[in-house]
Every structure is written in C-alpha cells, then in structure tokens.
C-alpha cells in the first residue's frame, strides 16, 4: 500500500524539483567519499588476498580479472548499498520520523501539500538514480585500488594488468552491477521513508524507526543481491 502510493506519487504532478535537487546532492554527492573509500580499500585488499591465494597455484595472472569481476558484479553495488543504507537510510528515517512526531507532516497536509509528493517521491527518485552513478564511480575506484596494489606492491606490469582487466570484463558485468545499485537505492530510500513516516511517538519512536530502516534495508539488499545475481548470471 505504502510502496504503491510512493511509486504513484513519484510519477504524477505536481513535482518539487528543488526538493529533488536537494536530495540528489544529499544522497548522491555527499555519499561519494564514503562509497569511494569503501571501493578503494576493497579493491586494494582484494588484490592482496587474491595474490596470497593465487600464488599457490601459479595463477597470479588471474588477479586483474578477479578484482574487476568481483568489484563490478558484487562488491561495489553491495558495499555501496550497505554504506548508503547506513548513511542515507538512517538520515531519511530520522528526518521524516522527527517530522512525524512534531506534526510537520500533518502541517504539510493542512498546507495543501501532499507529503508523499514533497517528502517521499524526491528521496525515492534521487536514491534510485544516484546509486548507479555512485557505483559506477566506485567500480573505477575499486579497480584502480587493485591496480595500485598490484603495480606498486606486488610488482605487476601496468600494461599487462590493464589489458587483462579489459580482456575479462564485459558490458553485462558492469550493467548488472548498476541495475543492482538502482534496486538497492530504491530499497534504502523506501525503507527510510516507510519507517520514518510510520515512526512511533517521541525520541524512542524515532530511534526505533532509524534502526529498523537500516536493518531492514541491509537485509533486503542482501536478499535482492542474491535474487538479481541468479536472474543475471544463472
């Protein structure tokens, strides 16, 4: 019911472009450092761990492929989704929950402004649009992290590392990760809005809404990651 209303109001006028722009900046731009750092260190540690394992089988040449496939298909979308769930999902639930308990949402209604259109639709659209962009940037940074460790720490040749990366990665690897990211962005915003909008009274109610938003979106991300992986690659 809530999801249906949220989606309906995301596609019907009136729209609030200023609110959408604010959410694009809040959810997208300000999440860039945390997603970038996560992707960078994930790519770096992946190269290190792969090297440790693959040297036992004289398969060091596969490191570039492992790094790029792991990052684009799984790690960048899932870790970015989880990090954004912590940063953005919690913030959405806390903000909307506080608005609920202080009657600001009721005030919107009395001022002839639909809260679904003003509060929920911009967050839903912004998160669904920006997470794929964040993950695409995360893909590049993650692969770069693996490249840096492989070249400067493990002694790989830059040219062969990059050519191995290009040889292995296919468009579908990147696209599947970006589609996952869009779904994860939708989940994060929806859970934040749902729990905030239905927040209980007082500080305890807002606290519980925030916790529930992060926990439910994290679990849903992991479940949908499995389901989408099965759809794309099985």
């Amino acid at each position: 019911m809530f999801i249906g209303r949220a989606i309906y109001h995301s596609f019907t006028a009136p729209f609030f472009p200023a609110q959408l722009w604010r959410q694009l900046v809040d959810i997208g731009y300000y999440s860039l450092p945390v997603v970038g750092m996560t992707a960078l260190f994930t790519g770096m540690v992946l190269a290190l761990q792969s090297y440790t394992g693959f040297t036992r089988f004289n398969a060091e040449g596969a490191i570039a492929g492992v790094v790029v496939l792991s990052v684009t298909r799984e790690l960048a979308p899932v870790l970015a989704g989880l990090m954004v769930a912590g940063r953005v999902g919690a913030s959405i639930a806390a903000e909307i929950g506080t608005m609920r308990v202080t009657e600001q949402i009721d005030a919107l209604t009395t001022l002839s402004v639909n809260p679904f259109k003003y509060l929920i639709a911009p967050r839903l659209i912004a998160a669904t649009l920006t997470l794929p962009i964040l993950v695409f940037i995360g893909d590049i940074i993650g692969v770069y992290g693996g490249y840096v460790v492989s070249i400067y720490s493990l002694g790989f040749s830059p040219g062969s590392y990059l050519s191995q990366t290009w040889d292995v990665v296919e468009t579908m690897d990147v696209v599947s990760g970006l589609i996952k990211a869009g779904v994860f962005g939708f989940i994060v915003a929806m859970m934040g809005c749902y729990h905030g909008f239905n927040s209980g009274r007082g500080a305890q109610g807002v606290g519980a809404a925030t916790t529930n938003a992060v926990v439910s979106s994290s679990i849903l991300i992991l479940i949908f990651n499995y389901l989408l992986t099965q759809v794309f690659f099985s």
């Binding site: 600001q104 005030a107 001022l111």
Partner: protein, 258 residues
C-alpha cells in the same frame, strides 16, 4: 461561500476507535459560518482526534463530516487537496519546518501549495509576520532561533497566510506564560475577525475560551456533553462544564491516576 443557513462545519455521529480504545463515541457538532467554536475537555477525551478527523488526517470509523454542506469523509486525494485550501491550522507545537527560514515557513502554502511566485509570496509572508507582532528581521531567521512564543506567532502567521475560510487552533496557548498566552489569544481574535473566517479551537485554557470563543462545546469520553454560546458557559447548569471551568477534582469527571 456557504448557502444561507448551512453550517460551515457539521459532524454527525462521528466515531473513531484505536483498537479497543473508543476515542470518539458519536460526536455531533455544528459550527456556524464566521463564528469561533472552542471545544473544551480534559486530556484524552478526543479533542485532537475530532480535529484530525475533520482535516482528514484520520478517517472516522462511522459518522458524517460536512464542510459547507458537502460530505468530506470519503473524499478522493485530489478532492482532499482542494478542500485543504479552505483550511489553516495553528499546531500545538508550532510544527514549523526546521530546514526553512521563517518567511519560507509562512509562505510555504502559497509557494508549494498554490504555486505563487517566491518574491510575491515573501512580501505576503513579511506582512503576516509583522501583523502578528514580530519584527521584519525575524523573516530571515530559522525556527530554532526563536522562543516558544515567537514560534506560536509564526505558526499563526502561517495559518492565516493563505487567507483560509476555516482556521483550526490546537491548544494555542499551551506552554506559554499568561501574558504571552493573552497576546496570542488576542492575535487569534484579530486575525480571524480580519479574515471573516470560521474558527475551531481546542484548549484546556479557560482564558483562551473566554477570549476566543463565540460558542463552546464540552467533550467528555468522546461525546459532546454540552454546547452553547460562551455567554452561557457560567450558567450552563451542566455538571461536566461546571466541574471543568472551575477546575474541581470532585464531580462526574473522574481521573484515574495510576
């Protein structure tokens, strides 16, 4: 404009329960156009729920709610949005939007709800801000920078900014000192009279009742137990009203303290 003799607001047998908690048990209420009705009653007797049912923030389980003679209980979302243009509301806690400046709060309904140009809306907002006794400089502050009394004034300015036909006041003087409470009460009367609007207030504060009301309704256990002109309040002969206006612990209204 209401047809001659049609009440501005009319509630017939409105019931609302939350689980086993029957908050409204058949509320009947008539508010004539251009008059100020104040609902009095203890905490938890259904005052706020009555207001929220009229506004459509809660759906009644049974009964009829009419605005200008038209049924509004099963209104479509678009119909509800249109109906809301008739309303202004001053919330108990102000309910100002933290992230917006004071003038943006006051002009919110004009800009977002009616699509008015920001410059024009700001001019109207500043006029309303000064009309409730605040300085023009307050317009560019944020709600957190204001005292409780100032926030109430801004809430009042926001409630009247779009010149509504009906204005609701939810506990307008709660949390204010007696002098500020009187200032707010007088501002309410001034603003409502200036607009020629219909007022519906809920309060425990007898000072507010005597200043704001043309008519008074007493609610107890989800039912209106007395209603009449404010002049008849002291001679109502209703034991609930007598106990409430004199603030006596003894009487038909009993409180469980657990």
């Amino acid at each position: 404009m209401t047809k001659q003799g049609t009440p501005k607001i009319e509630l017939i047998g409105v019931k609302k329960s939350f689980g086993n908690n029957h908050v409204l048990n058949g509320v009947d209420l008539v508010v004539p156009e251009g008059k100020s009705m104040v609902i009095i009653g203890g905490s938890g007797t259904g005052k706020s729920v009555t207001l929220k049912c009229i506004l459509g923030l809660l759906s009644p389980d049974e009964g009829s709610i009419k605005i200008d003679g038209e049924e509004v209980v099963e209104l479509s979302p678009q119909g509800r949005d249109d109906l809301m243009r008739k309303f202004g509301m001053l919330f108990q806690g102000g309910a100002l939007f933290d992230s917006l400046k004071i003038w943006e709060n006051v002009a919110f309904g004009l800009i977002q709800g009616r699509g008015m140009d920001r410059k024009e809306a700001r001019e109207i907002a500043v006029k309303k801000i000064t009309a409730v006794g605040l300085q023009e400089a307050v317009a560019d502050l944020y709600p957190a920078e204001l005292s409780g009394g100032m926030q109430k004034r801004v809430g009042l300015a926001r409630a009247v900014a779009a010149s509504p036909e009906i204005i609701f006041f939810d506990e307008p003087t709660t949390g204010l000192d007696p002098i500020m409470a009187d200032v707010i009460n007088k501002l309410i009367v001034e603003q409502v009279q200036e607009l020629g609007a219909t007022g519906l207030s809920i309060t425990h504060d007898m000072g507010s009742v005597r200043t704001i009301a043309d008519y008074v309704a007493m609610i107890h256990e989800g039912k209106i137990v007395w209603t009449g002109p404010v002049e008849e309040l002291d001679s109502s002969g209703n034991e609930y009203v007598e106990q409430f206006i004199h603030g006596r612990a003894e009487g038909p209204i009993t409180r469980r303290v657990a």
